[in-house]
C-alpha cells in the first residue's frame, strides 16, 4: 500500500478518538446492540411458543375464547377489544415518545417534558391493563376438570350451546376437608387453596343435569373444540382426577397448560420491559425538568430511551399477533 503523508494524517484523525463510526454516538450504538440481542431473546420465546403450538396443533386453546373480558362489560363476550385497546395505547405512547425526541432536537425543553409525561402515563396505563388481563386469566371463568394425562374437560349446556360454569351446576356435598395449613399436622408443610367445588360435587351435578355435555381440548375440522355426546361425556367424566379453576403454571382451565406457561412468561417478560421502560422514562423525565440536557447541549439521552421504548412497542406488535390474532 502506498501511504502518503496526507492519508497518514487522515488515519491519525480516524483512529485518534472522537470519531463516530456509522455516524452514531457510542450510547446509541450500545442501545442498538442491546436491542438486537433482546430482539433475539424475544424471538427465542416466541419461536418456542410456536414450537409448542405446532406440536399441539389440534388441541391448542382458542384465544378468542380465553380473553373475552372488557372493563365494565360484565358477562358480555368481547374478545380482542381489550388487547386492541392496549395496542392502541402503546402505539400512542410510542408516538408521544418520538415527538419528545423530535422536540429534543429543537431544544424545546417544555415540549420534551410534556411529551415525556404523556409517554409515562401511556406506559403506566399499559402495564395496569396487562395486570388486569392477568387477573382475569388467573381467576378463570367457567372452571374445568383435568384428567390424569393433563387433558382439560370443559362443560357445555347442550340445549343452548353455551359454556357451563362448574361452580354453578355442582351440587354441594357435606365434607370436613379443609385447606391444610402448615400450623396443623406435619410441620412446615402446607397445600394450595382448595378449589371452591370438589370433583365429587361436579360429578354429582353433571349426572343430575341431563343437558350438560363435555367439551374436550381436541379441535375438529372446523377448528372448533369437539363437543362429546351425553353418553360419551358420562364415560369421559370418570377419567377426571381433579378440578381446575383459572390458570397457573401447572394447571390451566382453558386447555393446554403450556399455553398458560407461555402466556405468563412472554407477556410477563414484555410487561417487565414496559415497567422498566416506564422507570427509565421517569428518570429521564426528571433529568429533563432539572435541565440536565439543556446544560449538556443536546437531548440524545431522550433519543436513547426512545429507542428502547419503541422496541418494547415493536415486541408487543408481535406478541399481540401470535397470542391473540393467529
Amino acid at each position: 500500500m502506498e501511504v502518503t503523508a496526507n492519508t497518514a494524517a487522515e488515519n491519525e484523525e480516524l483512529w485518534g478518538g472522537g470519531n463516530r463510526p456509522l455516524k452514531a454516538s457510542y450510547g446509541k450504538l450500545m442501545m442498538w446492540f442491546f436491542i438486537v440481542s433482546d430482539a433475539l431473546t424475544f424471538t427465542g420465546f416466541l419461536v418456542s411458543y410456536g414450537f409448542s403450538r405446532f406440536k399441539n396443533i389440534n388441541s391448542w386453546p382458542i384465544a378468542d375464547e380465553v380473553f373475552t373480558h372488557f372493563p365494565f362489560l360484565h358477562g358480555i363476550d368481547a374478545p380482542m377489544y381489550y388487547v386492541a385497546l392496549m395496542t392502541f395505547i402503546l402505539i400512542f405512547s410510542s408516538v408521544t415518545m418520538v415527538l419528545a425526541v423530535d422536540a429534543g432536537h429543537h431544544m424545546q425543553k417544555s415540549k420534551v417534558t410534556f411529551y415525556m409525561l404523556l409517554t409515562i402515563i401511556g406506559g403506566a396505563i399499559f402495564v395496569g391493563s396487562q395486570a388486569w388481563e392477568w387477573k382475569n386469566f388467573i381467576k378463570g371463568e367457567y372452571g374445568a376438570l383435568e384428567t390424569r394425562g393433563g387433558q382439560i374437560l370443559q362443560f357445555v349446556d347442550a340445549s343452548s350451546g353455551k359454556r357451563a360454569a362448574i361452580q354453578e351446576f355442582a351440587i354441594g356435598i357435606e365434607t370436613d376437608r379443609s385447606t391444610h395449613q402448615s400450623s396443623n399436622g406435619i410441620w412446615y408443610s402446607s397445600e394450595k387453596a382448595l378449589p371452591t367445588v370438589t370433583l365429587e360435587e361436579v360429578k354429582k351435578g353433571f349426572i343430575a343435569d341431563e343437558n350438560l355435555v363435555i367439551r374436550t381440548q381436541q379441535l375438529n375440522e372446523k377448528g372448533q373444540k369437539t363437543v362429546l355426546s351425553r353418553a360419551a361425556s358420562m364415560g369421559k367424566l370418570n377419567e377426571a382426577i381433579g378440578v381446575v379453576e383459572g390458570a397457573n403454571l401447572t394447571h390451566n382451565e382453558y386447555g393446554n397448560r403450556l399455553f398458560a406457561d407461555f402466556f405468563f412468561f412472554i407477556t410477563g417478560f414484555h410487561g417487565f420491559h414496559v415497567f422498566s421502560g416506564v422507570v427509565i422514562n421517569i428518570i429521564i423525565f426528571f433529568n429533563v425538568i432539572l435541565g440536565t440536557y439543556e446544560r449538556r447541549g443536546h437531548y440524545e439521552m431522550v433519543e436513547k430511551v426512545g429507542l428502547y421504548w419503541h422496541f418494547v412497542d415493536l415486541v408487543w406488535v408481535f406478541v399481540f399477533t401470535f397470542f391473540y390474532l393467529v
Binding site: 456509522l22 442498538w32 419461536v47 414450537f51 406440536k55 408516538v95 426512545g306 412497542d313 406488535v317 399477533t321
Partner: protein, 127 residues
C-alpha cells in the same frame, strides 16, 4: 444526527411530509389503520380467508404480513433507522432477518414432525 437530517417520505416516496412531526402523525394514522384492519379481521374471521395456505390459514398469513409491515414502520420511522447510514441499518436488520426466520423454520418443522409422531405413533398421550 441533525434535526434536519430526517428523510420525510414514506411508501417509497409516494407520501411526502413537510416536517418530521407531520410524518410522525402520518405514520401513527397508518399504524392505526393497519391495527384496525387486523382487529376487524380477527373479529369477523371472513370465511374466504379461512382456507389453508402453506400449512396455515390464509388469514394467519395476512396477520403475520401486516405485523411485519407494522414492525417496519415502527423501526424505520419511530426508531429512525431510515435516517441511519446503510452500514448501521444493515448490521441491525440483517442478523435479525437471517436468524429469526431460520430459527422459526427449523423449530416449526420439528414441531410438525413431533405432532405427526404423537398423532400416528404408538404412544397414547390423550388419556
Amino acid at each position: 444526527m441533525a434535526a434536519e437530517g430526517h428523510k420525510l417520505a414514506i411508501f417509497r416516496g409516494l407520501l411526502k411530509f413537510k416536517s418530521n412531526q407531520q410524518k410522525i402523525w402520518g405514520v401513527l394514522i397508518f399504524l392505526s389503520i393497519v391495527t384496525t384492519i387486523e382487529v376487524a379481521l380477527g373479529i369477523i374471521k371472513p370465511e374466504i380467508l379461512m382456507v389453508p395456505f402453506l400449512r396455515m390459514k390464509l388469514l394467519n398469513w395476512i396477520f403475520i404480513i401486516l405485523t411485519i409491515v407494522k414492525a417496519y414502520y415502527i423501526a424505520w420511522d419511530f426508531m429512525h433507522i431510515r435516517d441511519e447510514t446503510s452500514g448501521l441499518k444493515n448490521s441491525i436488520v440483517l442478523p435479525l432477518l437471517i436468524l429469526i426466520p431460520y430459527l422459526a423454520f427449523i423449530l416449526i418443522i420439528e414441531a410438525d414432525y413431533i405432532f405427526d409422531v404423537m398423532d400416528t405413533g404408538f404412544m397414547s398421550w390423550n388419556f
